[in-house]
Symmetry: C2
Subunit: 401 residues, 2 copies
Amino acid sequence: MNVTNQPQINPDVESIPYADRKKILDATRGRTDLADLSSGNPDVPMPPHIRERLREEVEAGYAPYTHYYGIPELRTRIAQYLRDTCAITVDPDSGILVTQGVQQALYLVLRTILRRGDDVIIPSPHYANYDLDPVASGGRPILVPLDEKDGFAPDPGRLERAVTPRTRAILFSNPNNPLGVTWYSSTLDTVADFARRHDLYVLADEVYRDFHPERLTSIAALPGMKERTFVFNGFSKSHFMMGLRTGYVAGPAEVIDHVKQLHYVVALCPSYLGQKAALAAFDCPRNQLEPIYAEFHSCLELLYDRVSGLPGVTCVEPDCGLYIFPNVSRSGLTSLELSLDLIEEAGVITLPGTEFGPTGEGHLRLSVCAGREQVELGVHRLERRLMELTSNSQDGGMVDE
Amino acid sequence: MNVTNQPQINPDVESIPYADRKKILDATRGRTDLADLSSGNPDVPMPPHIRERLREEVEAGYAPYTHYYGIPELRTRIAQYLRDTCAITVDPDSGILVTQGVQQALYLVLRTILRRGDDVIIPSPHYANYDLDPVASGGRPILVPLDEKDGFAPDPGRLERAVTPRTRAILFSNPNNPLGVTWYSSTLDTVADFARRHDLYVLADEVYRDFHPERLTSIAALPGMKERTFVFNGFSKSHFMMGLRTGYVAGPAEVIDHVKQLHYVVALCPSYLGQKAALAAFDCPRNQLEPIYAEFHSCLELLYDRVSGLPGVTCVEPDCGLYIFPNVSRSGLTSLELSLDLIEEAGVITLPGTEFGPTGEGHLRLSVCAGREQVELGVHRLERRLMELTSNSQDGGMVDE
């Protein structure tokens, strides 16, 4: 009944699907000749200021457990950031929890607010892991398609039709990975109105916020939203501290109180060095960051210009961040087939749009994380192969609309 | 139904109990005059070799996401350690997962193997968080008392009587925190026999293994145990890397496969710097570690000698590690009352035995983590106050057995 026969796995855990990414990783194994348009690992070092503070910590040499919920001074700095940058007032003691990246914070919050069979609305294509979180907690991800023709803004009618008596929350990233777009105030008003009318929690992953040149509105700052919104952010992308695994969630204290209890069981406390680096991040001179953001933005423009100029390819223009999400359905292949074909035939790694939900079919996610040289090489190889495929598929009788 | 009224919290998460430790922490707030016999944070820096390797990493400055399940080279080194030190053969790809400390590994495994209403046997007093893990996963911790008179070895009859049709696993630490004792081969044989007969998983937390001067038997190395045993270990205690949050679990591949899926959702990947420090730990010269172990062991002997010599106090002699678990019930106070009294009246922080399960009533957990000076000061204050209390309680008519 237990070990000797087929092991019994918790049904929620057993239901967590494997991503297609494994097929891509398998196809790239042992290849050192590939141009990388797939990476989520920005290929830049941490800013000098953060490295210097880490060096001091390593020299002192102590690595103690910290406060379970995050070093108090760090939570105070996070509260200041949320006030100054997002116009949200959060108590650093009762409303903020420091976690092992945004990923862990999302899991902890969803596991806390969901009961078995509850629904979470996820506008999609979406960051690949969002739909795994409800599954891992016995809930259901309800994917609501976002259309390229709407610039990937949500359709209010579709949101309404997705609501069930078990809908508990809506979850999205803004600025968006993989789509590259940002939802501004008017779109957020629509989402906020929807959440208030159906009494839903809102989970807003704002990890790309600092990449945007403007001070973006946070949905948590809209009327009646603070008490229902969890804002997720971290230092992985803004300060190139991906591997230090330091993020946080800010939200309503009466729920965060329970999230903290689960966090203690799951994690004990966040990383000491990660938190010290996060404290340094708040003091990091802007001139150590702005040039990096500018370079990635320039690469993103290059990538967008070249890819959107290809015959038969359409692409929503990105606002900021590290990704574009072009429609390449005219290749005549599925996203996964195309992605595998590009590795084999063109020597360039991309991610199939279906990695970000079934509505990503026909798209690729292209990234500038690997830097200008890889982007230039990758886009050159991509162009050549897409041209071949498009002409092949026309030869084969495809109608060029 | 959702946000506006009382928020609905997942019943498993809502059931996670708050520990008494909060009362102790509250009582110590703002006090800088307290001697510390409570800490779980060994007050020593990381060995120079590890700091040097970390310094090189920080100088290079990159902090990428790593392989989801841990840097492959690190998993290979872990497999070597398990082979050489524990006599266990584990495949580094299919049988090992690197996690945010042992705490996270325990959560992931229990959440994977438990179904709602399943039971986990926990010999108790036990490491405080063990009983929270089954609760957080909808299971039940079944505490099986360990007796001081047996040297805290498990009683086979009690184990048998604790089994139900829903018993899935037995969970313990060896060497033991908080008890300070080690279960050697003959005791492990008893536990292994019990687990085999009832077809149970065994979860063995061996995080204090390196503190023991001998090469200890791992229960996973006993006949018929490898396929049912999860071994947990990490670098927090052995290499004073508590805050780097790097641990691991090794276990049967067909279950680890699912644990990995949950890990991806909960954590994405472990800390880059934590893993680099763990790799350095495997190369750390023994002469950078042995003197620290020896000093803690000497402090532990001092603490044990002084405390066990007090009138009316009994204490099982510790084998290794950082803790003793004396019986102080003759004080006439409950463990929590005594622990709070010691803060107020004697200026010394201890942890009540009840922090480690109800069977810890009448005991304190005393630690040497804060170093010799604190141990000497703390034990002096403890002695004085326990003498006062014992004589008071005799004055008040208590029978001195």
